[in-house]
Amino acid sequence: MNHENPEPCLSDDQTMCCEPVHMDLLEHWPETPLDSMSAAFLDHLCQCRVCLRNWIALEAAAALATLDPVLLHSRSHHDP
């Protein structure tokens, strides 16, 4: 992360302290595994249940989302 480590919040409210993390989460998702995210991001997740919930929600939603067969065909067509 290029910004300073935001102050972690222990509440359920998504405050301004989460905004940079929120942006980071979406900037690096889905290609960056959780343990490869920045130390500041991971420290924040350890203390902010809102951002941790968001991460879990994104991962779960992506796993649940069904793939359109047309998309699969397109992907396999391009696979090496």
Binding site: L26, C46, Q47, I56, A57, E59
Partner: protein
């Protein structure tokens, strides 16, 4: 299932993860891969055929997906705290404290499913471990186009996540 055959399945899954994620091997140690394989194995064992028209089946599938994502995230954060120096912020929650609202997960799922095909393809390839430059090469696009498609897709997900505030 016997312990022996279960161990064998886990070894096979670990091998599979190694093959699939070879490009990430610098970032992942065998323990991480073992954990991922173990979670996948548990998910496979619990998996049933789910009828999308069946709300009970869909709810079960949702709970499994959330449980798996939470288990993976907590496993990695816990391990980091155990390994880390004193400067590492300790994990402040239990998984039960961080279960996302099912409505949010379903909204995100719907959002992902309704992405235009070209944006969805980029997201799915990134999830599969392709790098941006590889996607550009595979789809005969410029790297800038790949980045733009990803950003457009994530902007929609960002709005969905932002709506919950």
């Amino acid at each position: 299932m016997s312990q022996k055959s279960e161990d064998s399945r886990i070894r096979s899954l670990v091998q599979y993860h190694y093959q699939r994620n070879r490009h990430l091997s610098v970032l992942h140690d065998p323990e991480d891969l073992f954990q991922d394989a173990w979670i996948d194995l548990k998910q496979t064992q619990a998996e049933n055929v789910v009828d999308v028209q069946d709300p009970i089946g869909l709810d079960r599938e949702l709970r499994q997906a959330v449980g798996r994502a939470a288990e993976r995230a907590f496993g990695k954060l816990r391990k980091r705290c155990q390994r880390g120096s004193a400067s590492v912020v300790p994990l402040g929650f239990e998984p039960a404290d961080c279960v996302p609202d099912s409505g949010l997960v379903m909204d995100l799922k719907q959002q992902i499913e309704s992405l235009p095909a070209e944006e969805r393809l980029v997201i799915e390839m990134l999830r599969s471990g392709y790098e941006g430059s590889e996607i550009a090469e595979q789809l005969s696009l410029s790297p800038q186009t790949v980045t733009r498609r990803k950003q457009k897709a994530l902007e929609k997900l960002r709005q969905t996540l932002g709506d919950q505030k």
